[in-house]
Amino acid sequence: MHPVRKKRIIVISSIVLVLGLALGLVMYALQQNINLFYSPTQIATGEAPESIMLRAGGMVVEGSVHRNNKTLAVSFEITDFVEKVRVEYKGILPDLFREGQGIVAQGKLNAEGTLVASEVLAKHDEEYMPPEIAEALEKAKLNSASSNTSY
């Protein structure tokens, strides 16, 4: 290859490499700010700041949802399967909100470690399924569960 072109390749590649490295280090340093939410474990270990707006994300614990019959107030627990955090929220929940669903709640931690949320968002995964298949899977799961307990 022509030496001038070879030199250009080296110069351009090293510029991109150095810029990429610099950006990588910046993003590594800012990791906590780029993460959209704190996990319940981070909140339990005190990594998350108190009484500052933050987001917490996790799965809604089965059987933990309590609704107030008169108002829109609702409280539930979220978990990362290690720690749990209680969330209190007053407002309309997204359609996808239910027990076992991943959610992200934005709000402030109070002194008891409860997140008083002003916004609740639902997460979903990339496993899209027609309703019939989801139903069949659910049935199969129930069947295997019942057969396990009977034996």
Partner: protein, 248 residues
């Protein structure tokens, strides 16, 4: 290894004849596939068990999002080729494709917002995936703005080539944003290494509409590049021959 194809690709005359033959074929087959994929997806594919019908916007969102990134990959490679080998066709490619990529990025962002409202509960959230795609759109805008604002055309070609190459750093960030950080956005629908986590009657229309959008945009890109080549090469002999041949 023979490099003739590489040199052919760099010849404006050869490209003009290649594009004259293939641009419309690519464009129209893209239109047909796009119509088939989108109508199938929006009208006939099964709905999702959680999201119901709002899931269907995937048939527009995912093709646009993949295309926006592919176009930028093309820009970056063209920029590199221009900076190293000074190939004439590379800046033609960048100038013609940047607006198309920007359009794809806008469609991805808008359809994502429309999808996000009913499922997540919000139009927009500053998570890593959404933000890095916004940065992709801004990079496209930067390329377009600099191309058009610099009076010195030689300098403009060089400047956009540099931005295109440097902006490549953003592509792995977009791709891995959902793995490196906590995000609201779910992981990728199509992965190179494994089958998609949905049944064939859901992903086949998605594949077809993605393919259709690629061919559609490739056709448009070739048409735009033809115009740009004619304009840049207007003083050369072969352009005069082409004009005489067309009988204008």
């Amino acid at each position: 290894m023979s490099w003739t194809w590489f040199h052919k690709l760099g010849s404006p005359k050869w490209f003009f004849q290649f594009a004259s033959r293939w641009a419309l074929a690519s464009f129209w087959s893209g239109v047909v596939l796009l119509l088939v994929g989108v109508i199938w997806g929006l009208g006939f594919a099964p709905e999702d068990y959680q999201q119901g019908n709002s899931f269907r916007i995937i048939y527009i969102h995912v093709p646009a999002a993949i295309l926006a990134q592919s176009c930028y990959l093309g820009l970056g490679i063209a920029g590199f080729v221009f900076l190293v080998w000074q190939m004439k066709m590379a800046p033609v490619f960048i100038k013609s494709v940047a607006p198309l990529g920007a359009l794809a990025a806008v469609i991805a962002l808008l359809s994502g917002a429309i999808w996000g409202k009913p499922t997540w509960g919000t139009w927009w959230v500053w998570d890593a995936r959404l933000t890095s795609v916004l940065v992709l759109f801004l990079l496209y805008m930067g390329v377009i703005a600099i191309q058009n604002s610099l009076e010195d055309k030689v300098l403009a070609d060089k400047a956009v080539a540099v931005i295109s190459v440097v902006g490549l750093i953003n592509l792995p960030i977009i791709k891995y944003s959902v793995e490196w950080w906590n995000t609201l956005h779910q992981p990728a629908t199509f992965k190179l290494t494994e089958a998609p986590a949905m049944p064939i009657e859901m992903w086949l229309p998605l594949l077809i509409s993605s393919l259709g959008l690629y061919l559609f945009i490739a056709g448009l890109a070739m048409l735009r590049m033809k115009t740009e080549v004619l304009n840049r090469e207007r003083r050369s002999g072969w352009v005069k021959d082409e004009v005489l041949k067309s009988g204008v």
